[in-house]
Assembly symmetry: C2
Homo-oligomer: 459 residues x 2
């Protein structure tokens, strides 16, 4: 049984219609068509504040929360996080450019990435990106060379791998030793690279970054990683006489995907990370560094739902019933990529008792399963299906597979919707295709379709 | 050990440089930058011809080959397949619009899809799409209603499920009974729906369609499905007095992903499908229907490679070595989605003996493994990595995850490259974002970046 009210922003009106962020979801589906991403600004802002307060309360030193933009890259979402006082964690120069476009100060941006090209580093220096998180010795050497030439002294962190095996999907398990990311603490590689960076006159080392995975529900890995970070700081102090000004503990924070799930709240996670770090540093008499965290999924995920229109409902006798919706793999690849599980309700009958379990599929030419088994009240063609917790890694991972235009994104504030990302048109789908004059003249090409106008300014 | 020459279009020049489609891959990477999709028009055309000839030779009746556009949706690829006399299999109205733009006659298009909206069916009627493949009874009823109102009589096929369990990845196994697709033959649902469609004065039933999966290497499922199709035809004749004019046996045809793989060639597969179908139909004295097949992967897959630039090469002592390239999940999600295995070589040293096995990762903020273990000759930053058989389901499934611009596509003809899809710019990444005047005035937004100009006409 699914309890929609367990999802923030969701409520059911007296007629059984799902409301989200104070808006009637059926009216949204009608006005903006489906599939449609819907974000609730209030939930987004509340989540930002919860992280700020949670870490401020749990840590005796300075704290800083960055919004991890890769979770949801719409400019308005980046802007909203910045309005709430968060800095920005960018995973590429594309995200940096988005953040700048959204009016975020370059100094507030951290640039991550396992392979930053020389041009990326050049651009980051030129644009004044606040902190560059170095992923390898080669990258440190390249940045040093560029910094020396440009007469800038960029602030850097070194990404280290604490060697934690957190229980999460193997694709998103990044803190263990066997990873492409960062430099391992074990064996001394991280320590010796830090010693090397400290000798550089062109790089300002501010500390280190670590990240243990995604959607980590258990508190133990947070504590264990913080303990290893504290021990690493102690060894940096004793071995190199160096005390980092900053420790960036990355993301990993979970979002609620299931209404039945027991989820540690932000305060508990903050206490696990910050409590362990500060307690152990105090024991070893090391001054507390600034603690930075980078929530993305936990901020944007619960702030979003996706609305679909139900198409065919098919029963394969003796096997199961299928509900096909007008989206799928292209707007939410997470079930196919990670086996991610979602919950959903029929928006118009959100409190009706289910008459059975249905397999919800998208309409791509694949099996394209969105939800393996979902209790629903006799779904019918034309119903609107609302899938919860799709605010993170849905829009940002969306594709045009099967030449489906990517959906629009609507943001709600006090129940009032505004379009923050337009739906692609059929013309946009072929906007990058090059057709030479000769091909047009000799090979029967037709005139191109209308492309979307340049970034709107609206009213 | 990888043998590049096993991949069509690939050869190694005397200096050890990989050539593809007659072009120097290092020169392509330099000129067009990386990541870069490269297609060889000659391989593409040869594959189209092989399918036409293979099925013509194997089947005593009429045959028709459709290019399954979803495999690779660039307009020039659709156009090339049409130039080779293939019809077009579209999985959505987006693909239909692309096909029309590429100058393909509407009558040559088959429209598939598990959920065609009423508007899609209306548009298909209006545009004169040649064949609509019906997926359910509801869809048949809707199309009948629309056809009656529009005074057109569209040609239709019914998609049926033969109940085959082919050995392939469960996401791309579509012919078995437990599927969202089509109407099962077992239990009589397909037969009774065909009887119903035959009574309609507004639909012209041409026959049925079935599809058993993707990348099927074993010949048995092809034969078994053809046998079931033949038996179904026999029962349609005996029970309804109806002889289908057409049987569409779908796709499933494999592409070579591994240089060591034993792959049945098109002629053998054609004999398996067509031989079984025609033999059994003759036994039961039924006139041979037109046989239609829909290769996509087998045509486009081997015609494409992807060129990446190698970035950091990292050794985690005692564990493994990582090679990070400047693309990954966003341009090729198949390893993450399906566990797909690829082969690759260092383009500049394609014949050098490997010094060990490397894990090739993309540069996304995920583990983002492209190739789990690949023998390479001491890869170095700046090397170009060429991954084989990426012509299908790479470009068409690509995303902007981590705000990576989607790569350009270059087509080679007699060794000469031409750009067929432009690389996205950073401006394109935020082209759909809506920033209101008010937000711009009050919330610190900056001026948008330049978007790509409208579809080019070039020289």
């Amino acid at each position: 049984m699914i309890t929609p009210e367990k999802f923030p922003g969701a409520e059911i009106d007296p007629t059984g219609v799902l409301r989200f962020g104070g808006a009637d979801t059926l009216a949204l589906a009608k006005k903006y068509r489906t599939p449609l991403y819907v974000m609730d600004e209030d939930v987004l802002r509340a989540n930002c504040r919860e992280f700020r307060r949670g870490f401020e309360a749990a840590y005796p030193g300075e704290t800083r929360v960055l919004y991890s933009a890769k979770a949801m890259t719409a400019l308005e979402v980046m802007r909203t996080a910045a309005d709430e006082g968060l800095g920005l964690d960018a995973s590429s120069m594309g995200e940096v450019r988005g953040a700048l476009l959204a009016g975020i100060e370059p100094g507030e941006i951290y640039l991550h990435g396992g392979f930053k090209k020389e041009q990326d580093l050049r651009d980051a220096l030129r644009l004044g990106v606040g902190t560059i998180v170095l992923d390898s010795r080669d990258e440190a050497l390249t940045l040093e060379r560029l910094a020396r030439a440009s007469k800038r002294k960029p602030a850097v962190l070194l990404r280290v791998t604490p060697g934690i095996e957190a229980h999460t999907h193997h694709f998103i398990q990044t803190g263990r030793l066997d990873t492409k990311f960062g430099v391992p603490i074990a064996g001394g590689a991280a320590l010796s690279l830090i010693a090397e960076i400290l000798r550089s006159r062109s790089l300002e080392l501010r500390g280190f970054h670590y990240h243990i995975g995604s959607q980590i529900l258990d508190l133990k890995p947070y504590r264990e990683a913080a303990r290893r970070a504290a021990d690493f700081i102690a060894s940096l102090k004793s071995r190199l006489g160096y005390v980092p000004a900053e420790v960036n503990a990355g993301g990993s924070f979970p979002a609620r995907y299931s209404s039945r799930q027991a989820l540690p709240d932000v305060r508990r996670i903050a206490r696990a990370v910050a409590g362990e770090l500060s307690a152990r540093l105090r024991e070893s008499g090391v001054p507390l560094p600034r603690l930075v965290v980078e929530p993305g999924r936990a901020i944007a995920g619960p702030a979003g739902i996706t609305l679909y229109t139900v198409g065919p409902v098919k029963t394969v006798p003796g096997v199961r019933s299928y509900v096909i919706v007008d989206g799928g793999l292209s707007d939410n690849p997470r079930p196919a990529l990670y086996g991610a599980a979602y919950e959903a309700v029929i928006a118009g009958r959100a409190s009706a008792p289910p008459d059975g379990n249905y397999r919800v599929c998208g309409s791509h030419c694949e099996n394209d399963v969105l939800i393996k088994s979902l209790p629903l009240p006799s779904p019918r063609p034309g119903d609107v299906l609302a899938v919860f917790t799709t605010g993170a890694y849905n829009f940002s991972m969306s594709s045009n597979y099967n030449k489906f235009p990517r959906p629009a994104v609507v943001m709600l504030k006090n129940g009032k919707p505004r379009l923050i990302v337009k739906r692609e048109t059929d013309g946009d789908l072929f906007a990058m295709d090059v057709i030479t004059r000769r091909a047009r003249a000799t090979r029967g090409y037709r005139r191109p379709m209308k492309k979307s106008p340049p970034p709107t300014t609206g009213k």
